[in-house]
């Protein structure tokens, strides 16, 4: 059904993502002062491989850009250009554009050619003249690229300008084709020995009516730079000996520039330093130094060097599902073994315990599969910082920390938007402009730090800036002006900070391109809450602001409190429960005809009956001795959720209802309990938002009467 070409194309784009990541890493390392020639080689190879693949798929835009980019990069590689800070910014910008073009090529959209062109020209201005005269070579590149489909062949790295240069004149005789030889293979074999530049001589092709269909009219000139000896090259043509005119001549080495931007036949392999060099190379040992030996700053080293397998996400999800079932099944089995009353020392019981251990290990490992380092996300954010700071003319240093922290893939995907927003806010609102900073005794260049870490079973992501901190009086003033809070209220600092999350709040005096459209932090907060996360703000005047996002490690399991309401078992996410309270007589206060509040430590909290809200039963008549869960609501206020009893606290596997049934108000998802029954997972915040709040008047009457 699926077109194989499409599949190859798709895998090319996946590969592009990886290459772009490697490019980013390399640039970051160079920016951070890494002078290892291998680092620039990695960047060069990444761009080059993208170009190679793009040529094979006829993505001319991409080929052209990559080619010119790579040409400039080559100047760094051979030492004619030493990039300064501004040059590095240009390189980053070009890398961003390259990823834009890759994306545009994938989706078929059009990009603004002027931006691309101006960036390229800026870039080329760094090296002086090199830009122009490339068109021809480029054409040659495009022409020959289709031969280079074998992107993942274990070819020797083509970039090291080593060894001697040869010019091979290769003109097949008709007999060569008759004996079933294919010049293409020979050309490729030659190119595999080093860096090859192939040009084809069409001059002997006669007019169409004179063509002998079995004749041979083409000749090739291959300029190859290799450490292979002449004899080795001749050996390659052994099979066609006597079937062609072959002339191999050695050139004296010229300037390396000549071979730099050469369109290789064989693109270099993926940029892992590990398998690049053949053992014969004396330089090989230097190139394959363990990545750990390199400076830590964002090297592509350690993790990406591991062997990886690309797996369809659907398959992983299926596996996750199956393991979820296994866990449930195992729980059911344990229950029935317990019900059978077997001796706890019996073989069955001990076997079952081992089984439980195994299941848990499997579950953990499977969850690990879905986990990904936040690195790719952080890289996207570094781009946001560059763009945002460029747009408003602030100089910003972006620091990332803990980018190898692993988080569930879905979390990463859904975190991109809120994080983008927060980063822009930090650059736009958080940091002061240069003069203000200098006046405050800080460096002109502001710093935005993005860090990730695992903390007690959750992931903490922090965005901090060293700006002026939240201007609390102004925040309060704006909130009052917008009518979000009544005037002259006495608010604590935390409460004022929390105002930032109110819908319709935007502090920007003028609406800038970057942020301040009034759809700010409230959207950020709700999308993070949708992931089961929380956002908190810490701000110190004059020192800066830190936003902390705390997220669950995975969206597939949830810590929940299993409760009973009207004979139904339900699960309430543990994260939303602040405390549980057993009601005493007198805790309930009536408020209006059908609503009640409960009185806890001098605070009145609205009472909501879970059973009545879900329609499982009418509101109860007697509240004494019942259990309420205090739920933290979005605005920081609390509500009490009345349940019949609390059963236990456990991890549950989340099963979506969305796909099979649809959305149910007040219900987040479902799960399967140990006995095989389905229990619904309550979404307390949603439930509270839509609650009628009716907690039964008959009970009140009774209470009043009693």
């Amino acid at each position: 059904m699926s077109d194989p070409m499409n599949e190859i194309r798709a895998s090319f784009f996946i590969e592009c993502e990886e290459l772009l990541e490697a490019l980013q890493d390399g640039l970051l390392a160079i920016d951070g002062g890494d002078t290892d020639p291998e680092t620039i080689n990695i960047c060069f190879r990444a761009v080059h491989s993208i170009k190679g693949g793009a040529g094979a798929f006829g993505l001319e835009e991409l080929v052209r850009f990559a080619h010119r980019y790579e040409t400039v990069m080559d100047a760094i590689r051979n030492g004619t250009l030493t990039p300064d800070r501004d040059a590095m910014l240009l390189f980053f910008k070009a890398a961003d554009l390259l990823s834009d073009i890759v994306r545009a090529s994938q989706s078929g959209e059009q990009l603004d050619a002027a931006t691309i062109e101006s960036t390229l020209q800026d870039l080329e201005a760094l090296t002086g003249d090199e830009g122009e005269a490339e068109a021809e070579e480029e054409a040659a590149a495009a022409e020959f690229q289709p031969m280079t489909l074998s992107l993942d062949m274990e070819l020797p790295s083509a970039d090291d300008p080593l060894g001697s240069k040869y010019t091979i004149e290769f003109a097949p005789e008709p007999e060569l084709f008759k004996s079933g030889n294919e010049p293409h293979h020979l050309l490729r074999a030659v190119s595999e020995t080093g860096t090859a530049e192939v040009s084809c001589d069409f001059s002997r092709v006669p007019a169409l009516d004179e063509i002998d269909p079995e004749g041979a009219y083409l000749a090739w000139t291959i300029k190859v730079e290799t450490e292979a000896s002449k004899a080795e090259l001749t050996d390659l043509f052994d099979f066609v000996n006597g079937l062609c005119t072959l002339e191999i001549s050695e050139e004296t080495a010229e300037t390396p520039e000549e071979t730099g931007p050469v369109p290789d036949l064989a693109p270099p392999p993926a940029p892992e330093p590990e398998h690049a060099a053949p053992p014969s190379k004396p330089e090989a040992s230097a190139k394959t130094t363990p990545p750990a030996a390199k400076p830590a700053g964002g090297q592509s080293g350690g993790p990406s060097a591991n062997a990886t397998v690309r797996v369809d996400l659907d398959r992983i999800d299926r596996l996750v599902n199956l393991v979820g079932e296994l866990v449930i099944n195992q729980a059911m089995l344990s229950q029935s073994v317990a019900a059978a009353g077997l001796d706890s020392n019996s073989q069955v019981t001990s076997g079952l315990e081992e089984f439980m251990q195994l299941t848990r290990d499997i579950q953990d490992s499977v969850m690990m599969i879905r986990a990904q380092p936040v690195k790719s996300l952080f890289q996207r954010m570094s781009r946001i910082v560059r763009e945002a700071s460029g747009a408003i003319g602030k100089r910003v240093t972006f620091v990332t920390d803990g980018e190898h922290t692993e988080v569930d893939k879905t979390v990463i995907e859904r975190l991109a938007d809120p994080l983008t927003h927060m980063i822009r806010n930090a650059v736009d609102h958080g940091l002061e402009d240069g003069p203000t900073r200098l006046a405050a005794g800080k460096t002109e260049e502001g710093t935005v730090t993005l860090s990730a870490a695992h903390k007690s079973g959750r992931v903490i992501i922090e965005i901090s800036d060293d700006g002026g901190g939240i201007n609390r009086p102004r925040v309060k003033q704006i909130a009052e002006d917008k009518g979000l809070i009544p005037p002259d209220q006495d608010l604590s600092d935390t409460e004022i900070d929390a105002l930032l999350f109110l819908p319709g709040f935007s502090t920007a005096k003028e609406i800038s391109d970057l942020s301040g459209r009034g759809v700010g932090m409230d959207v950020v907060r709700s999308s993070i809450q949708a992931l089961g996360g929380r956002v908190t703000i810490a701000s110190e005047s004059g020192k800066g602001t830190t936003f902390s996002i705390s997220l669950p490690l995975t969206l597939a399991v949830l810590d929940g409190m299993v409760i009973k309401v009207a004979a139904e078992t339900l699960v309430v996410p543990l994260g939303t429960i602040v405390e549980t309270v057993s009601l005493q007589e007198g805790d309930i206060q009536r408020l209006g005809p059908e609503t009640n509040v409960i009185h806890i430590r001098d605070v009145f909290v609205p009472l909501v009956d879970l059973g009545a809200e879900l329609g499982y039963r009418p509101a109860p008549t007697d509240y004494e001795g019942r259990v309420v869960l205090l739920i933290a609501q979005e605005d920081g206020s609390r509500a009490a959720l009345l349940v019949d009893s609390i059963e236990e606290q456990r991890q549950v596997v989340i099963k979506g209802l969305q796909d099979t049934y649809g959305r149910v108000p007040g219900i987040a998802a479902a799960t399967i309990l140990g006995d095989g029954q389905i229990a619904l997972i309550v979404d307390p915040v949603d439930l509270m938002a839509n609650a009628s709040g009716k907690t039964g008047s008959p009970s009140d009457d009774l209470q009043l009467a009693g």
Binding site: L322, L614, K655, Y661, G662, R663, I672, Q677, I678, A679
Partner: protein, 156 residues
């Protein structure tokens, strides 16, 4: 009528799974049946239509269950262990139908399927795609598309 022609053009016979709901005999295209399983108590869904029994655990998947008798407004005793659940697939979605009993698998020539007479007053007639006669009894062919609750509308 044209609808029937459309759905069954390339087979001379249609295989039907027949079952009982109350005293009435219904059937569904056997190709849409995934499995038949015993009754299990469903977890009720709040704010759902009365004919939605709730959801059950079908080997790790959450399967919505529909009480066909209620859906078709047929008076029967509440569902119990004696009922069975027919798991069907409609428009790529899996769904359980609670029925009283599964009776038979029948091969019915297409020519013997007739469109139901157009009496719009009867509520249940909207769920019947075709009629046929088996051993002198009327067999209704259920229109699964209309049985299936549209996603989200119930919830809203």
């Amino acid at each position: 009528m044209s609808e029937i022609d459309n759905t069954i053009t390339d087979a001379a016979e249609q295989e039907l799974l027949s079952f009982r709901v109350g005293e009435q005999e219904y059937s569904v295209d056997i190709m849409s049946v995934r499995e038949i399983r015993g009754w299990t108590r469903a977890t009720p869904l709040p704010h759902a239509s009365p004919y939605v029994c709730g959801v059950i655990n079908l080997r790790g998947t959450v399967l919505p269950i529909i009480d066909l008798a209620k859906r078709l407004s047929i008076d029967v005793a509440p569902a119990s262990e004696r009922n069975v659940i027919i798991v069907v697939q409609v428009n790529g979605q899996t769904l359980g139908l609670v029925v009283d009993a599964v009776s038979d698998i029948l091969s019915v020539p297409l020519s013997e399927l007739q469109a139901p007479p157009e009496i719009s007053t009867d509520h249940a007639s909207g769920f019947v795609k075709a009629l046929t006669i088996i051993d002198g009894r009327m067999l209704r062919v259920l229109d699964l598309d209309s049985v299936h609750p549209p996603i989200n509308t119930d919830a809203a």
